[in-house]
Structure formats: C-alpha cells, structure tokens
Amino acid sequence: MMDPELLIQFYKRMFLIRRFEERSAEQYALGKIGGFCHLYIGEEAVAVGAIAALGEEDYVLSAYRDHGHCLAKGADPKKVMAELFGRATGLCKGKGGSMHLVDRARNFLGGYAIVGGHLPLAAGVAFALKYQSKDQVVLCFFGEGAVPTGICHESLNMAALWKLPIIFLCENNRYGMGTPVERASAIYNIVQVASAYDMPKDSFNGMDVIQVYEHVKAAVEMVRIKQVPIFLEAKTYRFMGHSMSDPAHGHYRTKKEVDEAKKLDPIPSLKQHLIRNNILTESQVQAIEKEVQGIVQEAVEFADASPEPPLGSLEEDLYV
C-alpha cells in the first residue's frame, strides 16, 4: 500500500504540470512564449512517479520536452514560466528557453534539444559519480525517437561496459514527431535494445503514476546498490501535438486514437484512486486544484511582470 501523503504529492505535482502546460499553451497563443514549445500533457505520471523515486541529490537530464521533468525535480514554477517568457528572472536568465531548462541547485542538468545528444552527457555524469565514489544516481529521460540514434547506442554500450549508475528512462509516447515507432525502429518492443548491451530492463505502464513510481524505485535501488545501469520504458502518450505548431491529431494519427488514449489520462485516474480509497474527498481534491491553479497563475503573472534580459547580458555567461 502506497503512503497516502505520497499519493497526494503525486496528484499535486501532476496537476501542477498539467495546469502549467495548459497555461503555457495559452500564453504561447498570446505570443508571450515564442520558439518551439513542446508540451508534456498526457505524460505527467512518468516525470512525477520517476522523479519521486529519486533522492534530492540524484541527477536528472531530459530532452526538449522538459517542462514536466524540471517542475517535478522541484524547480520554482515562477522561474520556469519566466524562462519560457524569455525574461531575466527565468531559470537561465532567458537564454535557454523552453527546450533548455536547467536548475543546477536541484541537480536538474537540462534540457537538450538534439535528439539523443544528451544521453552521453547523462552517462558522463554517472561516470563522474562513480569516479568520485558517490552514491547518487542519474536519471536520464528520452523519447523512443532517440532510440534509433547512434549516440543512444554508444551511450548504452559505455554505461553497461563501465557499469555506470544510471537509469535510462525511455518515455515511449509512440511518436517521434509524426512518425510512429513502427516506422522508425526495427524493434517495436523498445526495451529489447537493452538486451544488446546485456543491461537489465523493465517496461511498465507510464499512464499510472503508482506503477511508474514502484518500477522506477526498484530500478533506482538496484542501480544504487549494484552500480550498474538499467533501461526502463514507460509506455505513455502525448495528448497534444508534437509542438505548439502541430495539432493534436491530423495526418499521422486520428482523433479517435487520441480520444481513446485520453481515457487513460493519469490525472483523473489518480483522482479516482484517491477518492475511492478515502484518501481525499472530492472537495479536498478541488482545494488542491485551486491551490495549484493559484501557483500557476502566480507564475504567469511573475513572468509577465518580469523584465526582459538586459541587452548588456548578450555576451555574458559564454566563457567563465
């Protein structure tokens, strides 16, 4: 039986990400957020469940769909929203943007937007932990679209070869942009790639935060104790388009498919679980939702009221 307090935390975090992303979409439409913006709606259970299974000192790296991971690692929503707005008060002073969030104080090391390109970085962080005999671990998120890249395989090989303390967590949302996994990967059962490197593996339902937490927790413990890597696959689904410029459904997937997937929405599922098990009442859930909406509203207002980065900062932060 899960700790009820933990389940309430899960709900708060997942609802925070959902609300944050909905407001991001709205602010994008208003022109307050620019560039590429990839929303995490539908996949919240993966970031929240997986990161809850870590210790605070453990490291997390992610790809370009990183708002959820950054928030789940504990970043201040105000600073995240300000970064999306390109403001001086953002996590990265407005220089990184949506795809390059970093919160060093929380060991959230980014936010990388070349598919597969951050996997060796994550392995390198794990290399440093092992080198320094530390007991932290690294959790590296990436999409199934990264799996066919050469750099993914180089990274898996080195992590296995050198027994690095890293959890490779593939968020399989079934589409790399508009290309379904079966048209991009010769292996449909993604988690099988781990076998090529003699690496332990596990696959689970990424739409259920409790399952995610339990599977990742077991993996983290194994990695921490045995000092070997593991490959995990969370089967999930994104409800929105690939980015803000892509409709939720269209040429590459049907509305029916998206609607079917939404029946598995991890947030209402957890809500039902909380109420059914008498952990929270309907009105307590509503109170949490209201509180979270306030936090996100505050983040939007903070971002909107924040100044743009001073032009004098253009050439700062390049060299030490």
Binding site: G96, G117, L121, A123, A128, Y131, D317, Y319, V320
Partner: protein, 325 residues
C-alpha cells in the same frame, strides 16, 4: 632548460596536472594499454591506473559526450582524439553541448574540458586523415582553440588549458611529435590568448602557427641570406586571438604574409586578415598575402600531397609578392 620532444612535453604537462589534481583524467581511444596512438600517454596507465586513464570503444561522439557530462559533475576531463579528423564524429557534442551549455544555462553550468590530439597532414595519410579543421572550431562561440608549434608552448599551454574553466580545443600535429625544443625546468604555464614573436625582423611579418610556424622560420632564415628581414609571429592560441601582438608587428613591418595548412576559403588566415584590415589598414604597404592549403581533399600520392599544402618555397614566394619583388 631541457631539450625534449613535443610528445614528451605533452606527456609532462598531462602528468603534472594529473598528479596535481585528482579530478583530471584522460579518456579516449588507446590512451591506456596501448599507451596512446602516438605515445603521448606513455606510462600513464602504470602511474595512474585504469580509473584515470580510460580506454574507450571507437565512439568519438559518445566518449566526448561522456567527458562533457563528467565535467558538468565536477571532473576535469582531457579527451584525446586519436586524430582531429575523428572529431567530426563528435561535432554535435562539441558544438551543441560543450560550447553552449554554459550560455544556455545562464551561467549555471560550466564545461572545463580539453579536447586534444593531432590535426593536419602527416606523410601520405590521404584525404580522411590529413585535415586541418581549426577554422571550424574557431567559428563556434564558447570554445577556445590552441595550436602550439613548439615543445615549450605545447607544455605551458596544455597546462593552462587543463586549468581553464571552459572547453578548450587543443590541436597538435603528428609531424610535430618528434620535433625537439628547449623547455624550462620546473613548472611553468603559458597563458591562453598570447601570441609570441618567434623571430624579430623589419621587412615583412609572417603569421604562422603549428607546423607552418617551423616552415615560416626556415623561410625566414633563407630570406635573411638575401637580406630580407622577416618577423615571425606565432598566434599559438587561435581563439581568443591576440590581435595586439599581431597588429604591433604589422605596424612595424607594414607587410603581411599569413600561412596556414588548412583550406584557403573561409580559412583561419581570412579571419586574421580581417583583424588586420579592420585595425591596421593604414599601416599596410600592400595587400595581405595568404599562403594556404589548396582547395582539394589531401591526395595520397606524395607529389600531389606536397603540392596541396604550403611549403617553404610557397612561403618565400608569398613574401616576395608582399614586397613586390
């Protein structure tokens, strides 16, 4: 002073830094058991063990990324490229990660790494193993680029590179490894970003680096017999470029020849010429002459290879052209 090879100078610099700082480690292909493809890390495995001298699979992108990640978590990796031709495979890691992470994170993270190994042509290594790619790296904000020509510079600059908090591209040359030069006894450093006048003169400034510096000095010696006095400036660091030392020399001699082994178009020499034209146009008595690699992949045949890259005769010809002789 001790007379040692360029290879030995690099070995000393790395060894001293690894003894001084536990966070420094060497990673790359064949660096440990093989003792380095060019024997730069000879004796390292025996002294530092496999934890700090790390052989990798043949995965330039992968182990470069691992080095960058290790730097993010507090280590100071020295990444050996067996040759810089293979760094092309790691360009995404170098350009998109090493060079940008500090900036993208708003200064939260830094990447103190050195990526080192030989560049440029040797003896008939053919098109894929003979390239001079320094201009590529110089083009990217966030990187520093060093190309030392002498054992003394190689040692002092490698030590500075390892202690630098930024990603540093440190390009050696296969044909320099066996060359000898005097190196000061005891520890010393040479600051990044300082050029050096390697030979004083009055009539023409030759700007040359890495292997081409040695050719430039030979050319200067020969021209001296004809009564032509050459000043030879070695930038040593290409980025950040020491414009001041270059301009001081140009203002003295009023004539410039820039020598580089790399391809002419969009080459390093074009950038150095731009610096001179922008700052010292009035001091020039004639156009800047560039002696550079020919616009072809480096061919295998000995005579064609020699024709593709600058030699002493072409440098002398360039000097005479600069003097309208």
């Amino acid at each position: 002073m001790s007379l040692i090879t360029y290879r030995e100078a690099l070995n000393q610099a790395l060894r001293e830094e690894m003894r001084r700082d536990e966070r420094v480690f060497l990673i790359g292909e064949e660096v440990a058991y093989y003792q380095g493809a060019f024997k730069v890390s000879k004796g390292f495995l025996e002294e530092f063990g496999p934890r700090r001298v790390v052989d990798t699979p043949i995965t330039e992108a992968g182990f470069t990324g691992v080095g960058i990640g290790a730097a993010l978590a507090g280590l100071r990796p020295v990444i050996e490229m067996m040759t810089f031709n293979f760094a092309i495979l790691a360009l995404d890691q170098i350009v998109n990660n090493a060079a940008k992470i500090r900036y993208m994170s708003g200064g939260q993270l830094s990447v103190p790494i050195v990526i080192r190994g030989p560049g440029s042509a040797a003896h008939q290594l053919a098109a894929q193993h003979s390239q001079s790619l320094e201009a590529w790296f110089c083009h990217v904000p966030g990187l520093k680029v060093i190309m030392p020509a002498t054992p003394k510079d190689a040692k002092g600059l490698l030590k500075s590179a390892i202690r630098d908090e930024n990603p540093v591209i440190f390009i050696e040359a296969q044909l320099l490894y066996a060359t000898k030069g005097d190196v000061p006894d005891g520890e010393y450093m040479i600051p990044i970003g300082q050029a050096e006048v390697k030979r004083g003169g009055r009539d023409v400034t030759i700007i040359a680096y890495s292997k081409m510096l040695l050719l430039a000095l030979e050319a200067a010696e020969e021209l001296a017999k004809e009564g032509i006095s050459i000043e030879v400036v070695d930038p040593r660091t290409l980025k950040p470029l020491d414009a001041e030392t270059i301009l001081r020399s140009v203002r003295k001699t009023n004539r410039v020849v820039i020598v580089e082994e790399g391809w002419r178009f969009s080459g390093m020499g074009a950038q150095i010429a731009e610096v001179i034209y922008a700052e010292a146009m009035d001091s020039l008595d004639g156009p800047i002459i560039r002696v550079a690699g020919r616009e072809v992949p480096i061919p295998y045949a000995k005579n064609l290879e020699q024709a593709a890259i600058p030699d002493k005769a072409r440098i002398i010809q360039g000097v005479k052209q600069a003097m309208y002789l």
